[in-house]
Symmetry: D2
């Protein structure tokens, strides 16, 4: 693991997600740029001190030098955005599989370069757009992909939080500090942190790509440099239209990632805060409430992503673990000499990561032009 | 009453709304342009046949010719949009108060002219933006107007229906027929029919006017000429931003008028489909669920607009009747020789009607320019 | 109208319910035992002072003495329970139809006697168990009656309020005063006021009568004589079991009348506080959310009881008005010389009223025996 | 681990719950009475084959014979009810701590004996009433224990499922097979499986013990011997009353464990299916919606039991893991020579297990007497 020292939020999440299914053991890491923090974290996590490193370069080199049956199988990168590209490249080139948090890189150029690095390396690269791991998200995708919903006409996607309503970065929050700092986060604030999730979730489910964006961004608190709030109009390849709205200053909201898609044959509504429920509407029929765990009526994709019976809620960590499950499967297959094609991956890939960076750059370009329409570039597809 | 014959939806609604509080008796009308329909409707409603007229001009003249204690006190106009201006003008100029359905007129020019007619007449003119009649809408307005919410940062307003997903206008629906016909509806489809409600509700509650609009409109069904679906970005005078989205082809939606306002000191969420509930959020505090009928904690405005105890749901008709209650109060005061100022009216006025028409024209101009930003004109205020 | 003077709650409700469909005009009444209150109320309601009476006996006699085309068609009795029987009997015997609030009488003996009075009179008698007027309640009944639900296995019915948590009867509330006084209310407190509604709703929908009851009643506030809270086990004729729980001291509850029925082929859930929704569950299938106004999938009974489109909420008053609509239809048929059979009535009858009184007496007998099982007597059926 | 082989549900849950916080490694087990199943499961779980045993007696002996730093620290017992007592006793007496699934034993006598075994052993014994692990359940307990709610007046507790609506035990379900078999389950069906959870949750939160029970049980499917459905009236020591209702044939229900407590100063409502929300009501105030993760307003107990930010749902597995966290803490303290008192345990104890068995026996005695009132015995308290 790279990152995840004291003060980190997402590091602990990754550790639970990988432990949950008892497939992964944490053996090595550089948990912080601060060596003392790294050491202390390693100790707390029962990592052999000889494998607690002080830089990712050292770790990649040292692990690569270990015998094949002793070295790590893959690395999880859970650092701020500005420390995604370097470690990813280093580990991939040293022959390690990589699981990395989103957004994929600090800049669009890094993202484009990383696509090449992954392709050349032949290694598995997984990006933790964890919301794609929820069983009912996978079922919704299945409904759209299998033609049960018709053509997308209207998409309303929101990701609303309020945790940056206070100037947390001035109050000692490490989380807020790097997330509001362009040097560490890149050109997107809410856009990068949660907008990329909203964008990814929508396209993951509908399969209908955004073709242009008109984004209006706002900063309400003094001294902030990055967008706290964005409202954007969307147009889709299939002729539909949409709205994407994200905020980190939406008073009273917690992690309200909500997606509604209205298509010619039906509509879905899903909300991350109660993810075990998927509402499906058909014109002139009673709305249906699908719940996780019902193999009788859910798709195999949804059923495969669940661990416990219906009515026993699964949450964020289980969804996150499902992304890991997919990555681990691909890694096992690679190790077994029978690698999967990228198009077979059951988790977000480097291409999804590139698309996220394209989204940030397109939205910022639009906003900087006074909320003008800007075409969304196409993204190479996984083969 | 002008309009409201067989096949009308809103005519029956107006009749219930005015009957509910037992203050109004229906004595005269021209219920349809079709004389037979008008006569049959009159008979069914127990209206004296001598006061069932064949045109609004005839009715205005004949009623004005009756002795003061026998003629109608006011007229309700419940016709399609193209038959709002004529009757309104005729009755106002004949000395009758007017209650009219929205949008106020067919064209923006008519709206501007009607403002003058109302001002010169000195009569009461009420526009039935009925959603302003809900008690918790009035309480929400009170919260913003009294300074308990701070500055508006983000507004998300939606009005979603799906009843035009089928080509109802080809299947014999009178409602769909005029609503999809520009000659009867004007230049706005969903914009005029439900967008004006969404716009009015938002500004009614927040008091923070829209200053510019970027609207993207869509038509999905063949042969439709008017917008079925609109997504719009909004900017507000106070520095906030917003999204307005309306649709009459949003699969599975019924009358989902939902408003969320995120302000610096708190947020509200309200939905017309369960109007007895108002959610109020404050950063770092539990969300509060306010329910209609609680005089202990609701404002006097909210309490005055309610008839039954909390927990016994009030609905659309009661909200509609509250607009009538306000109009009747103003009419009584006028009759009593003690007229209210327009600024004192507890119901939407001719200025709200003008603003609605300005909204339609601004949004259409934006959409026709490819969803470009267009400033929203200011609107004269009631005195 | 008998009752409904100042300080009354239900009187105003009845007046709105009867006015809403513009079929009824209030022409006469004795609004209070206090003559001044009665006069003042009559004046406020624009009733001819010569028809504002000082006692029900006087009113029944005077109205009967009027020419047939001038006298009232029916009387609404909206007094406390101890003043139901006398006026009902007097008006029925004077040849007037009667609409009366529930519970039907003060005592079980009065109820039994009233059955005979109604039968002998041949007049229409309607009891305002208003919750049977909700469209989705009627649809639920249709589902059970038409065999789509199978055999009832478990019923959970609740009616929870908290308005008697404070000693309102000591604080000047007329409502609380008579409802906590056995001389005016009878032997049931919450049992009579809301328990009878819960019992009636359950049997109305399922058609499966209660055969025995084990009821545990409680009084928490000092000086109260009547039950504030009751929990009861139920057994049904069809072999199912159930729970009925009512309270007027259930902190934070408003008018939470909720019914869940689990049957062999499906289950329903309905709550009065959001009455436009009916949840229907089938084993192994997604839950369905039925909403009022959908003629595509709701029964004719449900569709006939609705006035406005789906998504525009209807509430308590509209449901109440539906009971009046049914009574008015029966009264019209009677006047037209073509009376309906009681079994055809689309509203609660004198037999429902008797059953309510039997329920109160059975539950009190059970509770007084320390919550022992007591058989519920059978009730004569309407023909 | 004892139990948890193929076909087990709860074994996998325990394994996830113990793995999640990366404190526990599974090193040994007897996963099934069927040696092949046990071996196969052990292999799948990467357990050293030399520590996959064929009986619990063998395992207890063999592990005890290992050097202290190589043997297991504690054992998890996840077998059917008839195989709880034997292994518990064996491991406790062999000097191992025990975590066991509920209900604690097959019979009440076993339960009483086990109390003595635990007391004499001085080892840690934890019972996985996992619902006590939810953060908002702990907060609710805090609210009652700290005097913010006043006196309990009414409790409504439900645990409703429908998975036994089909005769699963005849269709090859191992789960259904033992749960419907008195020889493996004991005298309670739904009572033991879910009724004990409902009872435990209620008393855990309110601290107000049940003093008598009147329980009516039902069997609807042919050939079933154990209760499928129970409705029970409850009386509490503090003077309040309640209803407990459980079912495994409640059409359409999944794992609907819902608790509502109405007390003199406030009320709470919580449902396991959306456990991140706790509703708190106060008379005459807006209802408050408390959500997990808000250290600003939640108690330390609630905050300590949470891993991720508010709005990111935690579920069943995290709650379950919290019970393990508590047990692990007590075990660590014991190993460190500084054992906690039972009264300090932050998890259900052997006394809770005894109380659960007393509850089953009391309810069955009541039901067998035709649903008569039976006193609930008192239970020794932890010191």
């Amino acid at each position: 693991m790279v990152g995840g020292g004291q003060g980190s939020f997402i590091g602990a999440v990754h550790r639970i997600a990988m432990a949950l299914d008892q497939q992964v053991e944490l053996c090595a890491g550089v948990f912080s740029r601060d060596a003392a923090n790294s050491r202390a974290t390693g100790e707390k996590l029962h990592v052999d001190p000889s494998r607690v490193y002080t830089s990712y370069e050292e770790m990649a080199a040292a692990e690569a030098a270990l015998p094949a049956d002793q070295r790590i199988d893959f690395v999880s990168i859970v650092t701020p955005n500005n420390a995604h590209f370097g470690p990813s490249k280093a580990f991939l080139e040293a022959g390690f599989h990589v699981v990395c948090d989103k957004p994929m890189t600090l800049t669009l150029d890094e993202a484009k370069e990383l696509v090449g690095v992954v392709e050349r390396s032949g290694m598995v690269y997984a990006l933790t757009h964890n919301y794609t791991g929820y069983p009912l998200v996978r079922h919704a995708r299945h409904m759209f992909r299998s033609g049960h919903m018709g053509t997308v006409r209207k998409v309303l996607v929101e990701y609303l939080q309020d945790w940056l309503m206070e100037p947390q970065e001035k109050l000692g929050s490490k989380q807020a500090s790097w997330r509001t700092n362009p040097a560490e986060s890149g050109i997107g604030g809410a856009l990068g942190d949660i907008g990329t999730h909203a964008m990814n979730l929508m396209e993951y489910i509908t399969g209908d790509p955004v073709t242009s964006i008109c984004a209006d961004k706002s900063i309400f608190l003094p001294d902030r440099q990055l967008d706290e709030d964005v409202n954007a109009l969307l147009r889709f390849q299939g002729g539909g239209k949409g709205v994407l709205t994200v905020s980190q200053v939406a008073t009273g909201e917690e992690n309200a990632l909500r997606l509604r898609v209205y298509a010619s044959e039906g509509a879905i509504s899903w909300c991350q805060e109660n993810p075990n429920v998927l509402e499906v509407s058909r014109h002139g029929k009673p709305k249906e409430i699908l719940t996780r765990g019902h193999a009788e009526y859910l798709s195999a994709e949804a059923t495969a992503a669940t661990r416990i019976p219906t009515g026993h809620p699964e949450g964020y960590l289980e969804g996150f673990a499902n992304v890991y499950m997919g990555a681990i499967e691909a890694i096992r297959r690679h190790i077994a000499g029978n690698p999967m094609k990228t198009a077979e991956y059951n988790f977000p890939t480097v291409y999804d990561g590139l698309r996220g960076m394209q989204f940030i750059y397109t939205a910022v370009e639009s906003a900087d032009a006074g909320a003008a329409w800007v075409p969304m570039p196409s993204t190479p597809q996984a083969n």
